[in-house]
């Protein structure tokens, strides 16, 4: 339980720093250290993600870093994607999916590193349009 709690802190920390839910760390904490099955671990991790994301979003809102309208549009339309994803996962070989997703995230990582290295124009960039 102590190890699980420490990993949970790390998951929350990652969530606050880079805006992900933390499931990447919560799932192993629940399966390896608490002993839940993979499905139970993933499901229970979802509950933790809701709480962590809620507190994180509230904190970010108080710092002025939350666009609530955009967040709602993205969140509301995600179930459609989940449905498509589940179908794709069952129709396309898993290995092909894993390797293509790996290539995609590496490409995005390259884009982020380039972005971090380019000369900064002004302070925080805000969205181009607020329409």
């Amino acid at each position: 339980m102590l190890f699980a709690a420490l990993i949970a802190v790390a998951g929350g920390l990652a969530g606050g720093l880079v805006g992900v839910g933390g499931g990447v760390l919560f799932v192993p904490a629940l399966t390896i250290f608490i002993g839940l099955s993979q499905v139970e671990g993933e499901s229970t991790s979802l509950l933790m993600i809701v709480i962590v994301a809620l507190v994180g979003a509230a904190r970010q809102n108080s710092y002025g870093n939350l666009n609530l309208r955009d967040a709602l549009v993205i969140g509301i339309l995600s179930p459609l994607g989940v449905l498509i994803g589940v179908v794709v996962a069952n129709e396309v070989p898993q290995r092909a999916l894993e390797l293509s997703f790996a290539a995609l995230v590496l490409f995005v990582a390259y884009g982020l590193v380039r972005r971090a290295w380019r000369p900064q124009t002004g302070a925080a960039r805000r969205p181009r349009s607020t329409k």
Partner: protein
């Protein structure tokens, strides 16, 4: 007819859902970079807005998995959420005090880690 901006947001939501459906990883991996590249969001605004969207995505997933399949261990989840919330409060506070480009680099490190996990598994 929805505006181009709404259509782009809808695409981000759908893509985030697709990757969650296939790999079970949260939508944040998809949402944060796309908000930055497509909308010119700064790192902090992108990560904050991503957390807001994840509340909804996670809530729907929890209701489906817990309500329909009974796979959610509520007490365990709530107990472990306590240290996790401590982490996210620290994480958001630290994020306000480091340069935005450092957030981009941390995110790139996370993505490389995910890629390695996908390749070796």
């Amino acid at each position: 007819m929805p505006s181009e901006r709404t259509l782009k947001l809808a695409t981000i939501g759908t893509l985030a859902g697709i990757f969650s459906g296939i790999f079970g990883v949260g939508g944040g991996t998809v949402i944060v970079p796309l908000l930055m590249f497509w909308f010119g969001y700064g790192e902090r605004l992108a990560t904050g807005t991503s957390l807001g969207a994840i509340v909804l995505i996670g809530l729907l997933g929890t209701i489906a998995q817990g309500g329909f399949y009974g796979n959610v261990h509520v007490t365990t989840g709530l107990l472990l959420a306590i240290p996790a919330v401590l982490g996210v409060v620290m994480g958001t506070a630290i994020q306000q005090r480091i340069p935005q480009r450092a957030v981009s680099l941390l995110f790139a490190v996370l993505l490389v880690g995910i890629a390695i996990e996908l390749i070796v598994k």
